[in-house]
């Protein structure tokens, strides 16, 4: 069996939200989450906007310091490390961002963008670096290499920019990559292409991925495990196919039900939907956070928070129904 690469233990991340001139209240973006990602594995973090999935991804990269909990990377606790002591981690953990237009500096050429991490981590001399850049560009299939190296971001299409973003994440040969909605701004016809590329590179270099997405359908096809997040908590986690085939949590069920598939009979029937909208994470509901919208809620739901339990083999759910 593969070994664990990164583990988040009971991580909490609160932000201060200003409500008056001097008064602030905490927004509980991530509120007690445990996640483990093994080497060479992809974990998809699925949830709707505001559920805290992006925050969790940033915490796992130590771009944010959690208010409590631990981040263990390859056996080392990096929770409270200063930025100076994190240099080794910055080399081994990378990020691919959502917006290929704003995540790369428009004033730098592709070569400069890809060379920057190498310079910062003092990797190789300029000739070796050029070789590594060429290899990264070949990996993400941006050829002819010479031509692309000279280009500025505005000369590239969205898909090509995202490949530059991936190449930048790849160039330091990381073991862990957080990909935050990497295809949500890419045309439908090209999305799968980028995802296959990530998959291929993962297999080639044995990278662990945290794939953050709102789209459970791509999560099913491109990840090993799926964790579903709702209001700062993970409510269900299982192998990807298992979770989609046998969703247990009422929220997961609703989420899957809401995804349309191209079927002409869709228009003739009403979709079963989750009623209402997610409440604010400033003041989450008591007990199970989903209970105000849950069609199956009963006695204990609004009192105590359900624990994440193994309801089936390797299938965890936080719900009193199980």
């Amino acid at each position: 069996m593969s070994s664990e690469l990164i583990r988040l233990e009971n991580v909490k991340m609160y932000f201060e939200s200003r409500i008056g001139l001097f008064k602030t209240i905490p927004v509980k973006a991530v509120d007690g989450v445990n996640v483990r990602i093994f080497r060479g594995e992809t974990l998809a973090l699925v949830g709707e906007s505001g559920c805290g999935k992006t925050t969790l991804g940033r915490v796992s990269l130590r771009l944010l310091k959690p208010v409590s909990g631990r981040i263990i990377f390859d056996g080392v606790d990096i929770t409270d490390k200063e930025e100076k002591e994190l240099k080794w981690f910055r080399k081994r953990a990378q990020a691919v961002f959502q917006d290929p237009y704003s995540s790369i500096n428009p004033f730098m050429t592709v070569k400069e963008i890809l060379e920057e991490p190498l310079i910062l981590h003092h990797v190789g001399d300029s000739e070796e670096r050029l070789e590594m850049i060429a290899k990264a560009l070949t990996d993400v299939k941006l050829t002819p290499i010479e031509e692309f190296m000279r280009k500025y971001p505005h000369m590239l299409s969205g898909g090509q920019r995202q490949r530059v973003g991936i190449a930048r994440a790849l160039i330091l040969k990381p073991e862990y990559i957080v990909a935050d909605e990497p295809v949500s701004m890419i045309d439908a016809s090209s999305r799968a292409e980028i995802l296959y590329l990530l998959k291929e590179l993962q297999e080639k270099y044995k990278i662990s991925f945290l794939y953050i997405t709102h789209d459970i359908a791509t999560a099913k096809h491109f990840s090993d495990k799926i964790a579903v997040m709702y209001l700062g908590k993970i409510v269900e986690q299982a192998e990807a196919y298992e979770l989609v085939r046998n969703p247990l949590h009422p929220y997961t069920k609703g989420l899957i039900e809401a995804v349309p598939e191209p079927d002409p009979s869709n228009r003739l029937k009403e979709r079963k939907v989750i009623l209402g909208e997610p409440p604010s994470p400033i003041n989450p509901p008591s007990g199970c956070r989903f209970h105000p919208r849950c069609p199956y809620r009963f006695e204990p739901c609004d009192k105590n928070e359900p624990e994440l339990k193994e309801a089936r083999i390797n299938h965890y759910v936080a719900c009193y129904l199980y």
């Binding site: 439908a188 090209s190 349309p260 002409p264 009623l275 909208e277």
Partner: protein, 322 residues
């Protein structure tokens, strides 16, 4: 039985830019029948939003060419002076729900007033009457009475979207154009809005032009689906025809690129990028990305063939007789 409400004939809309003339809408034919929902599906930059603007004659000032016929009630909107379009067509007959509807609302005016505003502007009723109608429409889209006196920032994304839909309905138009009405919403809210649109279509018997990049979402409401590529409608037919037996290779590929939650089928992708509308490829505009490309495709633009009754496509695969 079927009554053609809106007829687009050889519609063209070109823009002038520094780079040259952009052929955003190029020779489009489309009929919208009473009570029918037409799904207009295409990737970003294919000209679908330009088509919405062309139909209600809301044109930017760099228009190079605007010609063809848009027949509504015997009037050709293309030739109609702006003043008459405003008095007779816009909002009264055809209304529109813009992309990013949340930004359409003025943050400092109560939403109820904003819904009633078109009635007051068109000036045939006093404020009380207009408010009464606005309240009715807001109830129709599932908004609680008290929402009338709220400001936009006090509403959730889904509620704002409902407000904007109520605004579009306030003058009882025959046709509502919905330009990506759910693209900013989460899937669970998207499903609620789609259910609302189905209900409105059924109860009010209005026609809809539903513009989206997501063919699966289009299947959720459309009776007829038109697939747009590089400024042209490359395939049109009933939802069953287009979704079950698509004829144009682009439609086929687009369907396969949609990740499915059911089944094991992996999504595919279309290699290459959509063409530049300043300089579209010769012949069939899809030919550089088409797996079935033939010599004729490179040279001549395909005519509209009708391989099945009511299903038209611009593809030489179905032009065998010539």
């Amino acid at each position: 039985m079927l009554m053609i409400l809106l007829e687009l004939n050889q519609l063209k809309l070109y823009y002038t830019t520094i780079r040259g003339v952009v052929r955003a809408v190029d020779n489009v034919d489309l009929n919208v029948e009473a009570g029918e929902a037409v799904g207009l599906v295409g990737e970003s930059g294919c000209g679908k939003t330009s088509m919405a603007n062309a139909i209600i004659k809301m044109l930017p000032n760099n228009v190079a060419l605007y010609e063809g016929r848009i027949i509504l009630d015997g009037l050709n909107i293309v030739d109609l002076p702006e003043d008459e379009v405003r008095r007779k067509v816009r909002w009264r007959q055809i209304s529109i729900v813009f992309q990013g509807a949340m930004n359409v609302l003025n943050p400092v005016i109560k939403v109820g007033h904003q819904v009633a505003e078109p009635l007051i502007i068109h000036g045939e009723m006093d404020r009380d009457e207009a408010y009464k109608i606005a309240r009715e429409k807001m109830k129709l889209v599932g908004l609680h009475e008290e929402v009338f006196n709220r400001y936009p920032h006090e509403l959730s994304g889904g509620m704002k979207q409902r407000v904007v839909i109520a605004m579009a309905l306030v003058m009882n138009p025959k046709i509502v154009i919905l330009d990506e009405p759910t693209s900013a919403l989460d899937v669970s809210i998207q499903a609620q809005i789609m259910n609302l649109l189905k209900k409105l279509k059924r109860e009010l018997n209005i026609s809809m032009i539903f513009i989206t990049h997501d063919i699966a979402l289009a299947s959720d409401i459309s009776d007829k689906i038109a697939v747009m590529y590089a400024g042209q409608i490359v395939e049109i037919g009933s939802a069953e025809q287009v979704l079950i037996s698509p004829k144009h290779p682009y439609t086929q590929k687009l369907l396969k690129a949609t990740p499915k939650l059911t089944g094991e089928e992996k999504p595919e992708f279309i290699p290459g990028t959509p063409p530049d509308l300043v300089n579209p490829p010769s012949g069939c505009r899809f030919h550089p990305r088409c797996p079935y490309v033939m010599d004729i495709c490179r040279e001549r633009e395909p005519r509209r063939f009708e391989p099945e009754k009511g299903q038209k496509t611009m593809c030489w695969l179905y032009g065998g007789e010539t």
